[in-house]
């Protein structure tokens, strides 16, 4: 299993600014994942973060908008850049263990852009 802590849990930000979300895992993991959950919607994968290499982004997501850092095997950050109200969502950090048969999630960061 894995315990994931995310900070901040929520924030209200002005449009045009950036917010960095931190994710800390209680064990070393190879891959960390960042998801977005728009209001009332399901989860959409933004990118996969591997330690020591650039993140891999899913279709529709770009590094300039969502830069990711992965400095070690227990920590990652996701930045939401130049925010607009359309970026208002819950952002979730996740890891998968047990051969990929279970995903563990942080409690999420609820972002509101005004």
């Amino acid at each position: 299993s894995a315990v994931i802590s995310q900070k901040p849990s929520r924030d209200i930000c002005q449009r045009g600014t950036s917010l960095t979300i931190q994710c800390q895992v209680d064990s070393q993991v190879t891959m960390m994942f960042w998801y977005r959950q728009q209001p009332g919607q399901s989860l959409t994968l933004i990118a996969t973060a591997n330690q020591g290499s650039e993140a891999t982004y899913e279709s529709g997501f770009v590094i300039d908008k969502f830069p990711i850092s992965r400095p070690n095997l227990t920590f990652s950050t996701l930045t939401v850049s130049n925010m607009s109200p359309e970026d208002s969502s819950i952002y979730l950090c996740s890891v998968a263990t047990g051969g990929g048969t279970e995903a563990f999630f942080g409690q999420g960061t609820r972002l509101t852009v005004v």
Partner: protein
């Protein structure tokens, strides 16, 4: 790209009623999971099923995996307010650890 469609999208029922939630995939599942997400929390795994036709029970929850491994159902018996939440089916793309999530069913159980 695999698409996971869940139905119904919303469900509001009285305590003690039974309900069934469905998940249909556009392609064969690698490994099907069901998650429940409560407000302010991340999703939490309920069950993993891998074999076509498999049935698993978790207290009042019964999970069924279709023979062709393209559909699944979640049945809740005698629903309780604590069952309230967003139910998500998911598939982990084989060998990648990347998850695709269904469209979700938002359940509200009224006391």
């Amino acid at each position: 790209t695999q698409l996971l469609e869940q139905s119904p999208q919303f469900l509001s029922i009285q305590e003690g009623e039974n309900l069934t939630v469905y998940c249909n995939s556009s392609s064969v599942f690698s490994s099907l999971q069901w998650y429940r997400q409560e407000p302010g929390e991340g999703p939490v795994l309920l069950v993993t099923v891998v074999t076509g036709g498999e049935v698993k029970k978790l207290k009042r929850l019964t999970f069924q995996f279709g023979d062709a491994r393209k559909d699944s159902s979640l049945h809740i018996t005698a629903a309780q307010p604590g069952d309230t939440g967003l139910y998500l089916c998911a598939d982990a793309a084989s060998g990648t650890y990347k998850y695709i999530f269904g469209t979700g069913t938002r359940l509200k159980v009224l006391a």
